[in-house]
Symmetry: D3
């Protein structure tokens, strides 16, 4: 038995129900994803996370599609299956082509490699970077 | 005494010297960064890494500046000081504004957070993502 | 075919059998969990791990329930499904309420976020912390 | 030259200045730590992070001292020097004894070890944990 | 629906087909593993990765079996199920005994533990190591 | 002020002093490294770690030099400066050549890269690996 069960829309209390509706409206989807249904076990966390994501992922100096690609890049680095799958889909919905995704994955692979080459060789930071 | 010392330009063997010159020309810099000087201890690794980076970081469906931002995002996730500093500078040289960097950092923070919320609540992948 | 199969209780050699019985008695369970059955492929590792865990997780300045919450926090950070599930259950058995688990998860999320904000902004350690 | 410089109190704009004062008051300190001075480069991130931390770290089912110990545990797992140092000090200010810190570190070590033993032996989740 | 589907041998374009044949010949297998079928979505990445692996994993000062054990060690540390399973099998094919695998796993566990003890206690690098 | 100070040899209590002497004898060194001096703050952890390392790192199906290379590989993956430096030196003392270290670093880089390519492309485990 899982420790936390998803809070289905039909069980949702007022504040949670309100956020569920906002998520569906903002994302143009008909069902609340499991991530939010699980967070709803702790309404405070559900609200803080939704509010933060809206702020962080909105269009700014970076377009939302670029922000989603960065999100997938981090999730790939951390091996988070749920986030890789959901944010890859979100990236595509926001305009990412498969080619953009593949190029991002190649960059993520190289970065994870050179991050470790730096450690293995204990590379000291050059003066111009300090 | 460090296990590996940087191979200074004056010590560089032919193949290494050739790559050093190419790096300086491509990056429009006058000194070879420590990362390459350390990799030069293993010429095979120096060559493979330089060749791979040229291929992976070139302009494609994604612009080089976006690729650098993704590179920093991964390096931040992995706490690689050398890579964070050097690729942040590279991103700026390729056109990233401070605002773009700050927005990328905010996304990296949120992604690292939600990646773990997914784990804590053991969120199952929705059918639409499979 | 898996490289290592679980060593079932019926196959267990003397030293392994002894540890299996101790685990079941200490945890008040009727079946040895898969973790221990897999470690039993290397009796030396089984013994060292069980002995270490008994020492590290016993009541001290911190109560066992707090130690389990810390264990889950690390396992969430490392995305270890087995450890998250088993230690969340252990935490509950030792007195953790769902509210305590949810608050711990929220802390883990924030910590993983601010750990990376520190890296992104390359924050220097204040004198008072050194 | 660092990409981002700390925003000193004397340079702080209104919203930032307000948050700086709140941080100093809440923590009973006379100088704003570098973490916040760096985040102040992006006032939106400074505000969101401060607000989130106040909510997540307040006394609830878990006492603030326990939350700080969990924060250090995650920071140790992620090798974040700034966070380890600052939150270890915060934990002590909130009542953690050195013994509590040492026991927490021992748990973090063991958890990071067994998280990998699970992976090495590809341990399957027991039915009772699902 | 997955974002990227495996490119089956029957769909493979010329360059990809060529690499598929080389992989099967080099590994003495009759079917191309899923890893390569997925990478084939980006022929450039398929080629670069195959070429790099051939260079990095060949017999040198270290035997291929030792290189595979190191590969598994890293994959265990990063919780990469696919890599743990595939490279554990590769290690066995290249001569690793179960005992060697078990001893490697024990080392990986200890290293992940002491890496964090170092962080928890903020151990300074001794002069003789600098 | 650091939370934990190294316990110098002159301050060492009986059990700690005993372990210090054993470490120096076993490693043929004249000064106890900082790692052990910091662990000595918690004699139980000092003893458990020293005992575990002796068991795990001894000659078995794998030679000590190979075990040290694996230790460095994990430490590089986790960016643990202290462990990278100290275990690289230990590897050399046990017979590792610079060439062996460089080849290990190259493997670590590739493994960290392909671990993420697997995640980015969400590669499913082949039947023959299950």
């Amino acid at each position: 038995m899982p420790i936390f069960k998803p809070i289905e829309e039909i069980e949702a209390t007022e504040k949670v129900k309100e956020i569920y509706e906002e998520i569906k409206r903002a994302r143009q989807i008909i069902e609340v994803p499991n991530f939010w249904k699980k967070l709803a076990n702790h309404p405070e966390t559900l609200e803080r996370t939704w509010t933060s994501l809206k702020q962080v992922m909105k269009k700014g100096a970076l377009d939302p599609v670029i922000k989603e690609l960065i999100y997938v890049a981090v999730s790939v680095t951390n091996s988070c299956e749920y986030c890789i799958k959901s944010h890859s889909l979100a990236a595509k919905k926001k305009g990412a082509t498969d080619e953009m995704l593949k190029e991002m994955i190649a960059v993520v692979g190289m970065a994870n490699e050179t991050n470790r080459l730096v450690e293995g060789y204990q590379v000291e930071v050059d003066e111009i970077y300090k």
